[in-house]
Symmetry: D2
Subunit: 349 residues, 4 copies
């Protein structure tokens, strides 16, 4: 296979490190330039000691000059930095942005949640999303610019989409509580993220709809289920490095719904999806089972007493939730088979 | 202070061990007989090496003869065993049951969720519950038989009660997702509870309203908020030994509700409660902050976008969630100040 | 009991927080001023949300004026700050220093390991240490200045002292590998201490005798076993918030030593010590069993194949390893029974 | 590449699961029969939910008939079961045993540590071991029977071998303390391995030279450093699912040894080894950096004060410590490049 070269900007963070881990195992892509800002000049071994084969590669400054000349560039930067860089990279270069900058199509939503100017939007990198006019995948094949979804939106959107698409769930009574591992909060040193603080502890944050992933979740679900969809979303921090467990409930539109009919919506929606797995009845997803993999594990139940569906999704926030999605998008953009190089098996126990 | 003697039946489990830990620090109660079934004959040091001062105390068989002659007996047995034992203990002995046997007042509910005959009900040991005719506390002073609440019901009931009592929350649109540490699943060796399985992993269980704490939660909230209350309850297992974080949301009855008015309901309800703390605005509960303490930490927010209140409660499932509540009930039953011997500070980090 | 007032300087760190937790449960001591530097002006609830009863107490600036007028002052400051403060507090005030400043009696040792001028030494707060002329305890009764031992030195010194004192261990062939929870590294935000980094990971640090606790360990063991004692000490960071497990091995002086004779040295040495427990044969210490308690759990074995004794000690680095020792010293200095207010039972599971 | 088929016996345990995970990513090997005993008849998805692509494969009974007809068979069975099975598989089948049965060349050692008859020995599957007559690798190319090393012996032997081979370390003064994740203890449900027990706790086990890996470690090191080598080995259980951190110290033979000369022995020994990495000076191994990878990370220091070398090794006990070594041996036995299909990058954070 001809190896295409991929540069990674923002390679010293957790998302960038995971992109590099996946590229190392990819048979068609190879690691090109790796760049950083504060860590520029350091060897990768100093910031990502787990990337043994890249230990001696030196982080360069994040500039368009360094990133140019690759087949593709993955941006893993804080929001607000992608637009300027992307503008300097020619249209012949595929650019995949792991940050938030180009995810929201509504300027109003962006401005309500972010502190930088709206940069516009790019095709949204969630191939499996069953939008009104077919899978999102179709828009990603051969695309030159792709916005990689956020980690929570990945878990929540794929969990709820089939039921909303099928009209089985009330769009105005959706409640999501999700637990995330600490890597979702990034690698910047903050006292409340110290191991001493987080081990043995669960706590919520961004309560009351203020988390920035809220409008992204609603954008996705509205595309699937119509403009009435609104979501109560509460994220919590769990004592584990990786993983998202999203518990999503919604009132069913038909109180007498047959549980098998409910289940069938998910089974049908994802029957041909390589990365989205509806577990057999009776087994529930665990973040431990998807660690390091690009899979989404799902299960659905009907609580007939209260007339609500409960859908639970588990993903690895860094793999399918970020870097795995980025590589999946690269595959589509570059004309490779979509699953190339992406782990289907998790690392457990 | 005259020391009253307390026997603990089922002392080899996690709940029994926590009762013993609290009794060791109690200035008015002392440890009497400690009993077990499979572990009878072993020294406590072999099953609870953390209870250093009791290391040489030998576990006796759980029989009424061994338990008799104490001022009080705490039962920490699997459900189905309490009624027969309690019947053999005279009314002069205070009996506090940490198990489920006497919690539910509805035989129908019991039979829908449990596999043993309904044993009836005892006064419910949640002093802080604001029932229609005053705090539950009044029924516990001097009581001879008390049913200690379940761990999830403690967190969820105290989280939601003020809003339901004040008519601020829709009784038919209550959704609870709660995370529990593994000690809530007990000490019996099961493969899915191995450290290798649970560290780094979150997973749900008992999804769809089938968890046995569901009817207990609804019983409490119906007493507070009327017979229409129904709850969608999803418990999840978190990678930590102790702690419950309950994220409780409900649609508010008045879409234009002032956030401060919402908050005021909780502030008022718990202003005089020694163990229930509404945190200052902007701080959210963490299970890490209540570890080993008898406190409940609460916070409430209004998500005006979607018209839902979000209330989060953190408790230690073994302390306030079980053994601390048992000692609190003992204090009330035996005429001691309610807070005697109960830790208000958690062990952190 | 007349309550004596204790001020805590450096109350916003982990050591200071643990001192406050223990003072809250102490029947003879009450919390006086609480001070900090960067956090001065904040309520304690913002930095130690687990100290519920003190949530509204405001941290003052650390000055001698604020600390004066108490029966005792506990210093929990970075090294280098204690001498100047202590000099401003009259001799009528008991000062107990949790930092390193006054632990080393050798200026040469201090200067080899620390970057501030040697401040001299105070009586060393390890009551149980069996020095050549009796327990260290005798020097602490009524003392006005006490240096609280370091966490590793507590575990290692108490583990090895009986064998060295009895001449059973070769003083020049002592090897210690110890694992510590992350709270030992403090509360300052550092990237390598993030939860994401430490959960699931063990790593060494300070390898090759460079850790600052090395000279303190040797000072203690030389006092017990003579000037030839030297120690190879390797600390490691373990994925838990609290606890030290010290695995200490030394060649035995008599290759034909009877294992029971070895064991007897420890049994005799600690027979009357309330906080130091030699476990029954066959049970090994676990940091989980001493969490939050002031106990040291010990076990000893003879590896006859290779002629080495292996002694393992478990302590809570913040309790017996720091704040518990400080309170134990306060008790001795203030004329209270030595065990007053100190937990003997750990918090487990 | 022609795909060779590999059967896995004992596929329901942790070692078997990891072998399957690695086979799924291997370009030249494919998963054949998967067998178990108690779990026979179950789908793999029920016992290894992380192996998503194999979820529907059904575990068969472990019999020679089922295992026959493959290019290779990996045995991941409790000790005592491999000999009888292997005898029924023809010499044309490569058999790699992850258990202990064929590791020890001394019947006397076997009988001192195991409770089943000695089965003899097979070529020892540690390609990197620098034995007196060259690397062990030479004996593995084209071998038909290979004994995969134990997890602790892998870390300890590779850590100490270069120094012993170079005569820099005293063979009679070697002390090893190693911490292992809980998966090393297997998947059988035992109360002391419950998550509630192990999270937040470190404890030793098999103290005093009684751990079964002791004779295997000594066999390896004696082959490298001569018959006088003896090792004090203390394993400890750490609160993490995977990983071994081995802290190995030995007195240096030359008290005036130059630290760079010490380091050079390791640098030279492993310069051409793809999986063994001496880290740059100043960086220490972490189990977190090798999780899921086949790498060994090493660092060495000289404690000149006490005349001891300290070598620390980190491996993933299930990958390089078991299943990765098995695949590495399969590669050698089957004539594939040694590194084929084996991850060099760990999964972090």
């Amino acid at each position: 296979m001809h190896m295409m070269r991929v540069a990674v900007a923002g390679a010293s963070g957790y998302a960038g490190g995971e992109v590099l881990r996946l590229l190392l195992a990819h048979p068609g892509l190879e690691v090109g330039a790796v760049t950083a800002s504060a860590n520029a000049g350091q060897p990768l071994g100093a910031v990502h000691p787990h990337l043994t084969p890249l230990a001696d590669r030196v982080l360069e400054e994040t500039t368009a000059a360094v990133l140019a000349g690759h087949d593709a560039v993955v941006l893993a930067l804080p929001h607000g930095h992608s637009a300027a860089l992307a503008a300097q990279l020619g249209e012949e270069v595929v650019v995949v942005d792991c940050g938030a900058d180009f995810r929201l199509r509504s300027q109003w939503s962006w401005e309500a949640y972010y502190d930088t100017p709206w940069a516009g939007s790019w095709p949204y990198g969630m191939p499996e999303l069953p939008t009104a006019d077919g899978r999102q995948r179709a828009r990603l094949r051969g695309a030159r610019r792709i916005a990689v979804p956020g980690c929570y939106p990945t878990a929540v959107s794929l969990a709820l989409a089939p039921g909303l698409a099928a009209g089985l769930l009330e769009p105005r009574d959706v409640v999501v509580v999700a637990a995330s591992g600490t890597s979702g909060a990034g690698k910047a040193a903050k006292a409340h993220l110290l191991g001493s603080e987080v081990m043995g502890a669960m706590s919520p944050y961004g309560v009351g709809g203020v988390h920035r992933h809220t409008p992204e979740i609603e954008q996705n679900l509205q595309e699937v289920g119509g403009p009435e969809v609104e979501v109560s979303f509460t994220p919590t921090l769990a004592p584990m490095p990786r993983g998202i467990l999203a518990t999503c409930t919604a009132r069913v539109t038909d109180a007498g719904l047959d549980p098998q009919a409910l289940r069938a919506a998910w089974a049908t929606a994802y029957a041909d999806e390589p990365f989205v797995h509806l577990l057999p009845e009776g087994r529930w997803p665990s973040t431990g089972s998807v660690l390091g993999s690009n899979c989404v594990h799902l299960q659905v139940a009907l609580d007939e007493r209260v007339g609500r569906a409960v859908v639970v999704a588990a993903v690895d926030n860094l793999t399918k939730g970020t870097a795995g999605a980025a590589v999946q998008c690269l595959n589509l953009a570059l004309g490779l088979p979509e699953t190339t190089g992406l782990p289907l098996a998790g690392v457990a126990p």
